[in-house]
């Protein structure tokens, strides 16, 4: 119950922060090292930190409740790790990569993914010079906070609306990916407003350059997440029930329709 309350509060918090300005389009990849002014770096770290801390608590709670789920948690982390290593060509002629955080958000809730996603980002920033340590707060906010929260919200919302489960999983991962990159372009637009047109024009510029890069990748991520979800469903349905991902009593018909 307390966990749900915390998620709700975090959700409102995330909504307030992101609703500063939110048009519609997509963008690609993380913000590069040094390419965000100091005050923004600091601000995003401060905004992201509470999610990270609540995520640590959420993970501890899950693992204490059922130590067996540790493996599944590592599995969700490994999935994000593998997927964010894949730079995939897109229709715009440039490359970007999936985030892989949607699966973990569906399984363990969004806060847990704030921790796992941040770990992936730190690895990439330190070892691969991809993203950066100064921009870690901003990148973690887009990929490890907004993405997972949207994915979780879409999954739960779709299940409440009785939409088919495959659509819920696919939509959650796809929209989690898209909103990550919308957030990134918003972060860049806020830090680099257009001299004449302000933040809105700058946001439009950042998004239109990359508008279509992320869409096919988001679809791919949705499909891959669905594939992995299907496999977990086939082999380890008990874990999904325990994590309240699927309801306790599933009719035979519903079992078959995933």
């Amino acid at each position: 119950m307390t966990a749900r309350k915390q998620y709700r509060m975090l959700g409102i918090y995330a909504f307030l922060v992101t609703s500063l300005a939110l048009p519609d389009a997509a963008y690609a990849m993380h913000i590069m090292e040094g390419f965000l002014p100091r005050q923004w770096c600091l601000l995003w770290i401060i905004i992201t930190l509470p999610f990270f801390i609540i995520g640590l608590r959420s993970i501890r709670r899950t693992v204490t409740l059922n130590p067996r789920l540790k493996m599944l948690l590592a599995f969700a982390g490994a999935f994000a790790f593998a997927l964010s290593a894949l730079k995939i060509p897109s229709v715009t002629g440039s490359c970007s990569h999936p985030t892989g955080v949607g699966l973990g958000a569906i399984l363990f809730g969004p806060a847990a993914m704030s921790v796992l996603g941040s770990i992936v980002l730190i690895f990439q920033a330190l070892l691969l010079a991809h993203g950066g340590i100064t921009t870690i707060g901003a990148n973690a906010f887009s990929m490890a906070v907004v993405g997972p929260f949207i994915a979780y919200g879409v999954y739960k919302g779709a299940m409440r609306l009785n939409l088919p489960r495959w659509l819920a999983v696919f939509g959650a991962a796809m929209l989690g990916n898209l909103t990550t990159y919308i957030t990134t372009s918003l972060q860049l637009a806020l830090a680099f407003p257009d001299v004449n047109g302000g933040i809105a024009l700058s946001f439009a510029k950042f998004t239109t350059i990359f508008a279509f890069t992320q869409v096919p990748l988001a679809i791919s991520e949705g499909l891959l997440t669905l594939l992995i979800f299907n496999l977990i469903y086939t082999y380890s349905k008990d874990d999904l029930i325990q994590l309240s991902v699927i309801p306790q009593e599933v009719s035979t018909h519903e079992q078959e329709s995933v």
Binding site: Y27, G34, A78, A85, S94, T134, P216
Partner: protein, 104 residues
């Protein structure tokens, strides 16, 4: 859904991902397929030519080869654990089906 049908669905998902990935390589002519973050860098410089990055990466990979090594390592470690766990789940399930009384 029978087991065979299920595998068919998963196979279809994999094929779709491959199709989506290969499509731009075949149909987008003259593209360099560079990283989208590099283009973001250009956009920032265009918007604010006076902006100077104030921090550099602590460690840059010495070459494209080393970078691809690390990316491969990242992908392989992730995929390695993902497949290990799926195999573990599968084995556990088939064992449970053989011995229905066995604990979880």
């Amino acid at each position: 859904m029978s087991k065979n049908q299920f595998n068919y669905v998963n196979l279809l998902l994999i094929m779709l991902v491959v199709l989506i990935t290969v499509f731009p390589l075949v149909y987008v002519k003259g593209a360099d397929f560079g990283g989208a973050d590099g283009k973001a860098q250009e956009a920032i410089i265009e918007l604010h030519p006076e902006y100077k990055p104030w921090f550099n990466n602590i460690w840059e990979t010495p070459s494209g080869e080393v970078e691809s090594l690390l990316f491969t390592l990242q992908g392989a470690m992730g995929a390695g654990f993902v497949c290990y766990y799926l195999g573990y789940l599968r084995g556990k399930k088939s064992q449970k089906e053989c011995k229905p009384d066995a604990p979880n």
